[in-house]
Amino acid sequence: VKLRHVATSHDVGTIINAVAHQGQVEGGLIQALGQAMSEHLIVQDGLVVTAHLGEYKLPTIKDIPELTTVNVRARGRGPFDIKAISELTNAALPAAIANAVYDAVGVRLLDLPISAEAVFLGLQGRKLDASTT
């Protein structure tokens, strides 16, 4: 499963610091990318066996897709018409990727991360064993 391009649109108020605002968009998205496609805290018999960040697999600078961001300006409720951003950019991507996989190959995945192994098993009508993955 390879993510080629992400286009996002955000309902924003007044942007006070444009660089920091876009940084929140990008940071939230790549956290979502990790959650959706690689990050995995493996627990076996009640013990965490993911030993370190290399096994947990944060996205690296080589894993990021092309990105298009569209900010849709609306009136915010805060002072200066501000609205929140940051965590909001984190929410949609895992579901969007799962839907893209379903659209492409007809496999409906409800567990994260979405891995090649999960898609392969899904194509055979099987599921990953949650206790060992």
């Binding site: 920091a20 876009q22 940084g23 990008e26 790549i30 370190h52 960040l53 290399g54 944060l58 600078i61």
Partner: protein, 155 residues
Amino acid sequence: MRSVKIQVNGTAVLRDVADNRLLIDFLRIDLQLTGTKEGCSVGVCGACTVLFNGLPISSCLALVAHVDGGEVTTIEGLPDGERLHPVQQAFVTHGGYQCGICTPGQILAAKALLDANPRPTRAEIQHWMMGNLCRCTGYYKIIESIEAAAEASRK
């Protein structure tokens, strides 16, 4: 114990250290250079990156004995007095940091890249920098910062 002589940020440091003293503990505890951050402690995150004879190494995996007789550069060694190094300034201007823990390592790795390759392509930046993890920025602004620092050095 052993006696070591290391150029740290341009100053000669003479110390007696235990054979198993880690470079990161030597820098942070013995020399009080706390700009170097410890992340994973096993060499996968890049937060503890320092330059040894100009090249990036993980100070959490290096012994002081390894760098005896050489030059070590930490983030404290980059500014010229009150004036930030161009790579530092680019990270500030272009939002190449958020929480800051990975930032000293990112900046030192980026400096080593630009020293070796003053005009890197985006793919070359991504290849060189992939040993430095960042949880906050999503990396786009780190790339922008390094491109801006490369651009600034051409003027």
